[in-house]
C-alpha cells in the first residue's frame, strides 16, 4: 500500500525535495516572481497545490469548507468540491481518527484542528493510533499520509483556551513527525507542502493571526518583513518544498546561539538586535522541525559560540527547550562557557490577564541574553569563574536582586501595555 501511495502521489516532487540542500538558494532565486502574501494566504496556496497535485488528498475540519476561522481554506471547497474539502462536526477525536483511517487507505488526509488548544480530545487518536500504527502492524499499515494542521500560540488576548502551545506533548511520541512551525509565509508554504508529502504522520502547528493585520503590515515594512507572524512576504507561486528536520541559521553571530521556532522568532530577533547594541553578537537559529530536530546545526553553532539560549512560549518545565538543552549539554559539554538558558512561558496555566508577564517577551529574552553572555568567562573543572561585570551583584544576592531586576522588567512591560 505504501508503495502504491508513493507511485501515485509523490513522483517528481519527492525527487525535487531531495534537491534542496540549502533553502537560501531557493529563496533567493524565486523571491522575485512571488506575490506579497501573509502566512495564511501562503497556507492556502499550499493547500491548493496539495489538492491539485494529488487527487487522493482531502482537506477537512471544523468550518473548513467556508474558509475556516483563519481563512486558510478559502476557496478550496469551491475549486475542489465538497467531496474533497468538507466541514466536520465539532468532534476533534472523530476528526483525528477519521483522518488516520483515510490516510491508512493510501490517501493524503489534511485535517485541521481549529485551535491547538482543542487538540487534546484528539490526543489519544494521535498518540495511540496514528503514531504507533506502522510499528505495531509490523509495517503492514501506516497513516503516513496524515497531516494535522493547527494554529497555536498566543495572540495577545486569547485567554486560556485559544493561546496554548502544546508542541512538547507531541514531541514525546515516537512515530509522529512532529511539529513544523513556520516563522513566515514562505516558510509556511514550503514546510506545509513537505509535511503533507512526508511519508510519516505529521503534526503541523501554525502561528496564529490577529485582527490587527493592517497595523502589523505597516510594522512589517519597518522590520523589512522580518519574522512577523503576520508578516507579508513574497511567496513564490510555484510548487516548492522546504526540507523537514533542517534548521536554518537566520542570523549569524559569535557570542551566543539562540534557538527558537514559530512566532517566537520575531521576539528573539528583536531581542538579538537589542543585545547587539549591548555588544553581544547573537546567532539565531530557526529550528523549523521539532521532531526529528536538527541537532547538528545547533551543535555546530554552540561549538562556535559556547553559549545557548532556547526560547518557546510553552511553559518552561518539560518544554521542548529542555530536550534541546539536554542534548546540547551531552554533545557540547566541554565547549560550553555558560549553562544553557531557557526563556519560556511560566509554569502556570496560560493566563487571561497579565499575558505579557507569562510570555517570553523581548525584554526577558534580551535580559537573559546579556546575563548569559556575561555570567561566565570560562568554565574549568566544573567551577565557574565570574567576570567583573556589574551583574556580579546579582549573584551575591541572587534571589532578591534578580527578582528586583525582573520586577523592573515587568514594570517596563506593564507600562507599555495598555489594558
Amino acid at each position: 500500500m505504501a508503495m502504491a501511495l508513493r507511485k501515485l502521489g509523490w513522483g517528481g516532487v519527492l525527487i525535487g525535495r531531495r534537491g534542496f540542500s540549502s533553502t537560501g538558494e531557493l529563496e533567493s532565486s524565486s523571491s522575485r516572481d512571488g506575490k506579497l502574501v501573509n502566512l495564511f494566504t501562503a497556507v492556502n496556496q499550499a493547500l491548493h497545490i496539495a489538492l491539485d497535485t494529488d487527487p487522493r488528498s482531502y482537506v477537512f475540519g471544523e468550518d473548513v469548507s467556508f474558509g475556516g476561522v483563519f481563512r486558510c481554506t478559502t476557496g478550496l471547497a469551491h475549486r475542489f468540491g465538497r467531496q474533497r474539502v468538507f466541514n466536520t462536526p465539532l468532534c476533534e477525536q472523530g476528526i483525528a481518527g477519521f483522518a488516520i483511517g483515510l490516510a491508512a487507505m493510501g490517501n493524503r488526509a489534511i485535517a485541521e484542528i481549529q485551535f491547538a488548544d482543542y487538540i487534546f480530545p484528539a490526543f489519544d487518536q494521535l498518540v495511540n493510533e496514528a503514531a504507533k500504527f506502522r510499528y505495531r502492524s509490523g509495517n503492514e499499515f501506516n497513516c503516513g499520509g496524515l497531516t494535522i494542521r493547527s494554529p497555536y500560540g498566543a495572540v495577545g488576548h486569547g485567554g486560556h483556551y485559544h493561546s496554548q502551545s502544546p508542541e512538547a506533548f507531541f514531541c514525546h511520541v515516537p512515530g509522529l513527525k512532529v511539529v513544523v512551525i513556520p516563522r513566515s509565509p514562505r516558510q509556511a508554504k514550503g514546510l506545509l507542502l513537505a509535511s503533507i508529502r512526508d511519508p510519516n504522520p505529521v503534526v503541523f502547528f501554525e502561528p496564529k493571526a490577529s485582527t490587527l493585520k493592517f497595523i502589523f503590515r505597516q510594522l512589517c515594512k519597518i522590520y523589512q518583513c522580518w519574522l512577523y507572524r503576520l508578516a507579508v512576504e513574497e511567496v513564490p507561486d510555484a510548487d516548492y518544498m522546504l526540507p523537514l528536520s533542517q534548521a536554518e541559521v537566520i542570523r549569524e553571530g559569535k557570542d551566543i546561539t539562540v534557538v527558537g521556532w514559530g512566532a517566537q522568532l520575531s521576539i528573539l530577533e528583536q531581542a538579538c538586535e537589542d543585545a547587539e547594541k549591548e555588544g553581544i553578537s547573537c546567532e539565531l537559529i530557526d529550528l523549523r522541525t521539532l521532531i526529528p530536530w536538527d541537532k547538528e546545526t545547533v551543535e555546530a553553532s554552540v561549538s562556535k559560540t559556547g553559549r545557548l539560549l532556547v526560547s518557546h512560549e510553552a511553559p518552561v518545565t518539560g518544554g521542548f527547550g529542555a530536550e534541546i538543552s539536554a542534548s546540547i549539554i551531552e554533545r557540547c559539554f566541554l565547549r560550553l562557557e555558560a549553562p544553557v538558558a531557557r526563556i519560556c512561558g511560566l509554569d502556570t496555566p496560560f493566563p487571561l490577564v497579565y499575558e505579557p508577564f507569562y510570555m517570553p517577551t523581548k525584554n526577558k529574552s534580551c535580559f537573559r541574553l546579556c546575563t548569559c553572555e556575561r555570567e561566565y568567562t570560562s568554565m574549568t573543572k566544573g567551577q565557574y569563574k565570574r567576570t567583573t561585570f556589574h551583574l556580579w551583584i546579582l549573584f551575591r544576592q541572587p534571589i532578591r536582586a534578580l527578582t528586583e531586576a525582573f520586577v523592573q522588567i515587568l514594570d517596563a512591560i506593564k507600562s507599555t501595555v495598555n489594558y
Binding site: F66, L90, V316, T348, L352, L402, A405
Partner: protein
C-alpha cells in the same frame, strides 16, 4: 417561580439602587393572579408523554421575565461594544436571542439544583443571582469579577448558587455535570443538575459516554441541548445526521421545547426535574437562536442570511413575546415597559462604570490557584534562576 427579579438583585449591590425601587413597586409586580397561557408550539416527546401546553404563570412572573431578559439582552449588547473597544480581552460568546432558556429554566428550579454550561455563560450567571458588576468586572479581567478576573468571559462561576460554570472546551462540561448529579443523588439531596451544551457539542463523543453513565445509574442529570442551529459556522444539518437532538439519547427520553418561549421552557424544566428525580436522565432540546455570531470574532453573517436573523427577531424574539403577553393581558402599559428598559440601560451603564473603576488583579495572581494553597510547589520564572516563588 421566580421569587425575585435579577434586576432587583443587581440593584441591591449597586449604589444607584434607589432609582429603580419605586418604579418596581408601581408596576403590578406583586400581582400573583394565576394566568393560564398556552405555548404557541407543542412539545414533542421521545419515549415520554410530553407535558401540557397550558402553562400557569402570573403577572408578577411575566414582569420579572421581562425585566430579566431585558437586562440580559442589554448586558450582552454592552459586552459587544466593550469587546469592540478592546476592554474585554479573550474570547467572548454572547447569549442574546437565547435568554428565554436561562430565564425559563431558572423559574422552574431552585438554587439547590446545579447548572453547568459551556462558554456562553454570562446570562446563566445572572440568572443564578450573579450581579452585573461581577459580570462586567470578570469580562474585563478585574479583581471584583466572579472569578477574580482570572477567568474572563468563558469562565463565570457561582458556587453558592450551584452554578458550576463556564467551560471553554466544547462538550467537556457535560460529563462534569453528570458527576455533579451523581453527588446529588448519592447525598440524597433531591436536586438535579442541568448540563447545557450546544447543537455543535451534541456531536462530541464524550456526551454519549456521559449519557450512558447517567442512564446506567439513573442520575438526576438533565442534558439541555441549546439548539441555536449553528455549531460555530456550520449549520446543524451539515454536522448532524439527525438534528432531532432530543431523540439522540436513544434509550434516554427527550423533549423538544420552543426555546424562544420562556414559559414553555419553564414548564419543560419543571417536568424534566420531576422526571429526573424519579427516573434518571432526560434530554431537553431547546429550539433557540443566537443573534450574534459564534464569538466576537465571527460576524455571524457568512453562513446565514441577514434576512434569517431579522426574521427570527421579528417572529420569535423571546423578549418581544413576553412584551406582547404583558400587553395582551393588560398588565402594564407599553410606556412603562419602555421605562423599565431605559432604567435597565442606565443600570448596565452604571455597572460598567463601576467595573471599569475596579483594579486589575495583583500580579501575584498569575501564580496563585495553580495548585491548592500551601501545597509548596515552586513555580519558576522564564529562567529558573530569576523568579522562584513558592506558590501562595
Amino acid at each position: 417561580m421566580a421569587s425575585s427579579s435579577l434586576l432587583r438583585r443587581a440593584i441591591s449591590s449597586a449604589p444607584s439602587s434607589s432609582l429603580l425601587r419605586p418604579m418596581s413597586a408601581r408596576l403590578f409586580s406583586s400581582d400573583e393572579t394565576v394566568l393560564s397561557i398556552e405555548t404557541s408550539v407543542p412539545y414533542t416527546g421521545h419515549k415520554i408523554e410530553p407535558p401540557s401546553r397550558i402553562v400557569e404563570t402570573s403577572p408578577k412572573e411575566l414582569l420579572s421575565f421581562f425585566r430579566d431578559m431585558a437586562l440580559m439582552r442589554r448586558m450582552e449588547i454592552a459586552a459587544d461594544s466593550l469587546y469592540k473597544a478592546k476592554l474585554i480581552r479573550g474570547f467572548c460568546h454572547l447569549y442574546d436571542g437565547q435568554e428565554a432558556v436561562a430565564v425559563g429554566m431558572e423559574a422552574a428550579i431552585t438554587k439547590a439544583d446545579g447548572i453547568i454550561t459551556a462558554y456562553r455563560d454570562h446570562c446563566l450567571f445572572l440568572g443564578r443571582g450573579g450581579t452585573l458588576v461581577e459580570a462586567f468586572a470578570e469580562l474585563m479581567g478585574r479583581k471584583a469579577g466572579c472569578s477574580n478576573g482570572k477567568g474572563g468571559s468563558m469562565h463565570f462561576y457561582k458556587k453558592d448558587a450551584r452554578f458550576y460554570g463556564g467551560h471553554g472546551i466544547v462538550g467537556a462540561q457535560v460529563p462534569l455535570g453528570c458527576g455533579v448529579a451523581f453527588a446529588q443523588k448519592y447525598n440524597k439531596e433531591g436536586a438535579v443538575t442541568f448540563a447545557l451544551y450546544g447543537d455543535g457539542a451534541a456531536n462530541q463523543g464524550q456526551l454519549f459516554e456521559a449519557l450512558n453513565i447517567s442512564a446506567l445509574w439513573d442520575l438526576p442529570a438533565i442534558l439541555v441541548c441549546e439548539n441555536n442551529h449553528y455549531g460555530m459556522g456550520t449549520a446543524e444539518w451539515r454536522a448532524a445526521k439527525s438534528p432531532s437532538y432530543y431523540k439522540r439519547g436513544d434509550y434516554v427520553p427527550g423533549l423538544k421545547v420552543d426555546g424562544m418561549d420562556a414559559l414553555a421552557v419553564k414548564q419543560a424544566c419543571k417536568f424534566a426535574k420531576e422526571h429526573a428525580l424519579a427516573n434518571g436522565p432526560i434530554i431537553l432540546e431547546m429550539d433557540t437562536y443566537r443573534y450574534h455570531g459564534h464569538s466576537m470574532s465571527d460576524p455571524g453573517s457568512t453562513y446565514r442570511t441577514r434576512d434569517e436573523i431579522s426574521g427570527i427577531r421579528q417572529e420569535r424574539d423571546p423578549l418581544e413575546r413576553i412584551r406582547k403577553l404583558i400587553l395582551a393581558h393588560d398588565i402594564t402599559p407599553a410606556s412603562e415597559l419602555k421605562d423599565i428598559e431605559k432604567e435597565i440601560r442606565k443600570h448596565v451603564d452604571d455597572a460598567i462604570a463601576q467595573a471599569k473603576e475596579c483594579p486589575m488583579p495583583d500580579e501575584s495572581e498569575l501564580f496563585t490557584n495553580v495548585y491548592v494553597k500551601g501545597y509548596g510547589v515552586e513555580s519558576f520564572g522564564p529562567d529558573r534562576k530569576e523568579i522562584r516563588a513558592t506558590l501562595p
